[in-house]
């Protein structure tokens, strides 16, 4: 158990993440149909299909570059709110790997923190508004708490934090995004973007299991 991913492994991990999200388009479509406009699934698919292509490029050859390439692909191809926030998450998070060039437990936790900070700023939201932040923030805290136990433990903790956040988002009343209009009618349904956060982290957990 090395606990670190080199540039090539990071690229492979991001490919696995992309494929997983592409495979789960319908889950996201249905979640967004319930409390949004129904495009989150196809939006994420478009973004991650573009990410798969971007990962083949030279710029994606470092750990930082791979994250940034994925973020840029999402930003340009997903569009909508998700394009902005998930694009920002990966692009801002990428900086955490600039120094070491690899992903380990500490830099992974830092990436989530930096991604979260950038998303909060971009979206102008706080926790509790029923957005992807409500999965990302607990995931980030759980990751930080697990630092020292290796990358596999950190991605597992982050995934669990995100899943708890998805669950908690059900009880929230949306106050931003397309679900806002539903008001109290949004209660009982999880936030689609939060589900995406959990799927991304779960794919990372699966990839890093045993790493």
């Amino acid at each position: 158990m090395t606990g670190t991913l080199d540039a090539s492994a990071v690229r492979d991990m991001m490919r696995a993440v992309a494929q997983s999200l592409i495979d789960q388009t319908d889950v996201l479509t249905n979640a967004d149909l319930t409390i949004g406009d129904g495009d989150h699934g196809v939006g994420m698919r478009r973004g991650f299909e573009a990410a798969l292509i971007a990962l083949e490029a030279e710029e994606a050859a470092s750990a930082e570059g791979a994250f940034k390439a994925v973020g840029t692909a999402i930003l340009s191809n997903t569009g909508g709110a998700a394009g902005a926030v998930f694009g920002t998450l990966f692009r801002a998070g990428s900086k955490a790997f600039a120094a070491s060039g690899v992903i380990d437990d500490a830099s992974f936790a830092t990436a989530l923190e930096e991604g979260l900070a950038a998303v909060l700023k971009r979206g102008g939201v706080t926790e509790g508004q029923k957005t992807m932040v409500d999965a990302l923030a607990p995931a980030s805290r759980a990751a930080r708490a697990a630092v020292g136990q290796g990358l596999a433990a950190v991605t597992a903790a982050a995934t669990q934090g995100a899943l708890d956040g998805v669950e908690a988002s059900k009880a929230m009343i949306a106050t931003t995004g397309k679900a806002r209009s539903l008001g109290e009618r949004s209660i009982g349904h999880p936030d689609p973007g939060a589900i995406s956060v959990s799927l991304i982290l779960k794919a990372m957990q699966d990839f890093t299991a045993g790493a």
Partner: protein
């Protein structure tokens, strides 16, 4: 329920194919940006303050059908119901810029706000000055004290018309922004849906309504409105929409307004004209005079059936820009 029946080729390529067809339909007055889903007027005069509009696709002719003389100078297009990305917006802004700055005019949605704001940051690096006016005319979306939480719906069209006129005539970005903000403050809309639209790529209706139900206050992507109700008469629906709209600004005795009844997709003009009859009776009763009326199809939600009503209060300045001749695929006037 069966998927809506549509005449398409590849559902994953609806937007690029549509934009190709749209550029061609402009008969040479508009071109598509190389490699980006954006449409730009060919004959933007030098030294003109530029007006960039944009938003998700699927609402045709809004936004990208409103590029033309005295309308938008360019439009950045997103995927269906998804804001365009920052790189598209920034590229379109550069293409329309003529040295006097760019006004961004678009509907107030989290996705649009974030993407257009990111484009503003990119353009800052290039020294291009941008101002932003967000349309937030949907009175059903939030109470008046939270205007910034309101969605932009058919008020977009009057806003584009006014801002387009102002941007053709006024010399500075400041002045154009001032006029657009005045219009933004004076426009109010509300809609009703009787059936849902769908996203071509998923083939799924964005919501379900029972055979005898309507959604009052429905948003332009199928966002929930104020209430789900039993289908009622045209007059009763007009009364409810007008109650909310009139009280909101509020519009007052002696005001002069522009009135738009916008088809969300599949509603017949017959229905909208019957509604117009009632709206005019209400306005007459309230002592509000109508300077001009538009009844037609401008902001659609794919095949959604329903309509929205927009009132914009006018003064001489807004009248001047609203009444200017205009030419675009989706809206022209003499």
């Amino acid at each position: 329920m069966a998927n809506p029946k549509k005449i398409l080729n590849d559902v994953k390529r609806v937007v690029p194919e549509m934009i190709e067809g749209l550029a061609l339909a402009n008969d040479g007055r508009v071109y598509k940006l190389d490699g980006k889903p954006a449409l730009i007027r060919k004959d933007i005069p030098d030294g003109k303050v530029a007006l960039l509009i944009g938003g998700g696709s699927g609402h045709e002719p809004l936004f990208h059908g409103f590029v033309g003389k005295n309308m938008g100078d360019g439009a950045a297009c997103g995927n269906v119901f998804a804001a365009p990305s920052p790189d598209v917006i920034a590229a379109a802004a550069k293409a329309v810029h003529r040295g006097k700055g760019v006004l961004f005019l678009y509907g107030n949605y989290a996705g649009d706000n974030m993407n257009f704001d990111m484009a503003v940051e990119l353009l800052e690096d290039d020294g291009i000055e941008v101002r932003t006016v967000r349309v937030c005319d949907d009175v059903a979306a939030a109470p008046p004290e939270r205007m910034h939480d309101r969605r932009g719906i058919a008020g977009d069209i009057y806003m584009i018309k006014v801002a387009g006129g102002a941007a053709s005539e006024l010399g500075t970005l400041d002045e154009v922004e001032r006029v657009a903000r005045k219009a933004q403050g004076w426009v109010r809309s509300m809609g009703v849906a009787v059936s849902a639209g769908s996203i071509p790529e998923t083939g799924k209706l964005t919501f379900e309504l029972a055979d005898d139900e309507i959604e009052v206050g429905m948003g332009a992507h199928g966002e929930a409105g104020i209430a789900r109700q039993k289908l009622k008469s045209a007059d009763a629906i007009a009364d409810e929409l007008m109650d909310k709209i009139l009280a909101d600004l509020p519009f007052k005795r002696g005001d002069e307004v522009a009135l738009m009844i916008n088809n969300l997709g599949a509603t017949t003009m017959m229905e909208m004209l019957i509604v117009n009859r009632r709206i005019r009776a209400i306005l007459e009763r309230e002592g509000i005079s109508v300077h001009r009326t538009d009844v037609g199809t401008w902001l659609t939600v794919q095949e959604m059936a329903g309509f929205s009503v927009t009132l914009m209060k006018l003064d001489d300045e807004l009248k001047r820009y609203l009444d200017m001749p205009a030419e675009s695929l989706g809206y022209s006037r003499m």
